[in-house]
């Protein structure tokens, strides 16, 4: 049976990390399952978890008084949700909610941060991965913001 370190080694976000590094951070993770519509994180709440998606889809939503809830992104197997765990002030900028049954490795954000602080090489490595992912999300969000296909009316 695979342990958390094995599962992390197969996930694109952790691809290429040394086995000893994976073992070190695996101690911060547990397997978890979320049912459809179940909340993973509330917008504005403390970002204390990184969700490593193994199966299923997670929707990221924002709420506004004028327009109600809007899905602004979805994440699937191979993605992670909760990059704010490594970026002060460690707050969720969006709501994360399961669309389908979602299987994740739920990583304790504070545990990961403590390990990054204690081992700066690990911290730099994870920060590079977080920055790369954030850059991808930023580019994608810029394209969405441009509303290239016309006037956005839901």
């Amino acid at each position: 049976m695979k342990d958390i370190a094995d599962e992390l080694s197969e996930h694109p976000f952790f691809e290429g990390l040394a086995p000893e590094t994976l073992s070190l951070i695996a101690g911060c993770g547990v397997n978890a399952v979320y049912k459809p519509e179940e909340l993973l994180a509330r917008e504005g709440s403390s970002a204390d978890e990184l969700f490593v998606i193994r199966k299923g889809r997670v929707a990221l939503l924002m709420h506004s008084t004028e327009r109600g809830a809007l899905q602004v992104d979805t994440r699937d197997a191979g993605d992670v949700v909760g990059l704010s765990f490594l970026v002060p002030p460690y707050r969720w900028p969006v709501e994360a909610r399961a669309v389908q049954t979602v299987h994740v490795i739920r990583m304790d954000g504070k545990c990961l941060r403590d390990k990054c602080n204690a081992d700066t090489a690990l911290g730099y490595e994870l920060m590079q991965r977080v920055a790369t992912a954030l850059m991808g999300h930023l580019n994608a969000r810029s394209i969405q913001l441009l509303d290239l296909y016309g006037q956005l009316e839901l």
């Binding site: 809007l70 899905q71 191979g78 999300h137 509303d147 290239l148 296909y149 956005l152 839901l154």
Partner: protein, 273 residues
């Protein structure tokens, strides 16, 4: 069609409202109709309103229907939207260089479309599916504004369900009830397996989207000359005389609208082009 500068009147078979601002006009081809190649366009003429360059969105093998999918954004296209089974539309064409579908035979085909850019891509899918065994994987990545702006949704999903294509359809934003993908279409390129030496990519949509998409495909290792884009410029004569659609050394109406990305990439990044 006979004279490239004289519109031929075609009867309208019918009009279908696809989305809140996009409709499909189904015309009876004129006498002597010789078909079109995927990616080509016609100039559609409404007396008293003028002409507009419109991509052909139907099946290239269907000689009984000439189908155009149109976004109503100006006078001509708004007038076209009033046409129904009792009216006629002037047609000149087809014009332009088509998608290089043959270049994809024997390998994978990646289609990236955004918004109304899906219209000129549907004939590519019709053509590839008519000869499905000649291609390996066919991927369609299609981005729309919202779920209700998705063109040809049922047909695309049916092809996906049949396993004929792998379709990823994403929207920029949606209500919580939407169960599909949300996010920029360019962000999904990284998710598909790519064999860079044996893949042809075709992109159609807003120019910024095409640039980002091409950039992601280049990261995947697809050579620049195997990435093709469809450029949109102000087409007037459609016969490379008037110069309205000039793009550097090219006339988009004659030398395009489909170009190798390697031929136009530099111009796509410069403001004055």
């Amino acid at each position: 069609m006979n004279d490239a500068l004289i519109p031929e009147l075609c009867n309208v078979n019918g009009r279908l409202e696809d989305t809140p601002d996009v409709f499909t006009l189904d015309l009876v081809p004129p006498p002597g109709y010789r078909g079109f190649a995927p990616g080509q366009f016609n100039m559609l003429y409404v007396p008293g309103a003028g002409e507009a360059a419109i991509s052909i969105s139907g099946d290239p093998e269907d000689s009984y229907r000439l189908v155009h999918t149109i976004r109503a954004v100006g006078d001509v296209t708004s007038q076209l939207r009033t046409r129904d089974g009792h009216s006629q539309v002037g047609v000149r064409g087809p014009f332009g260089k088509p998608w290089p579908i043959d270049a994809a035979r024997g390998g994978d085909l990646i289609i990236v479309a955004g918004g109304i850019g899906m219209a000129p891509m549907r004939p590519v899918l019709y053509a590839a599916l008519a000869d499905r065994a000649s291609y390996d994987n066919i991927y369609l990545l299609y981005g729309a504004r919202t779920p209700r702006d998705i063109l040809f949704q049922e047909q695309l999903m049916e092809w996906h369900r049949q396993g004929a294509i792998t379709a990823i359809i994403t929207v920029d934003a949606a209500r919580p009830s939407w169960k599909g993908d949300v996010g920029a279409v360019t962000g999904f390129i990284g998710r598909i397996p790519v064999n860079p030496r044996n893949t042809v990519a075709m992109i159609c949509g807003p120019e910024i989207m095409m640039r980002y998409a091409a950039s992601e495909l280049l990261v995947k290792g697809i050579p620049m000359d195997r990435i093709h884009v469809s450029m949109e410029r102000n087409m007037k004569c459609a016969t490379a005389f008037c110069g309205h659609c000039q793009l550097g050394p090219y006339f988009v109406c004659r030398d395009g609208p489909v170009f190798r990305y390697s031929d136009v990439a530099a111009m796509m990044e410069v403001k004055q082009f």
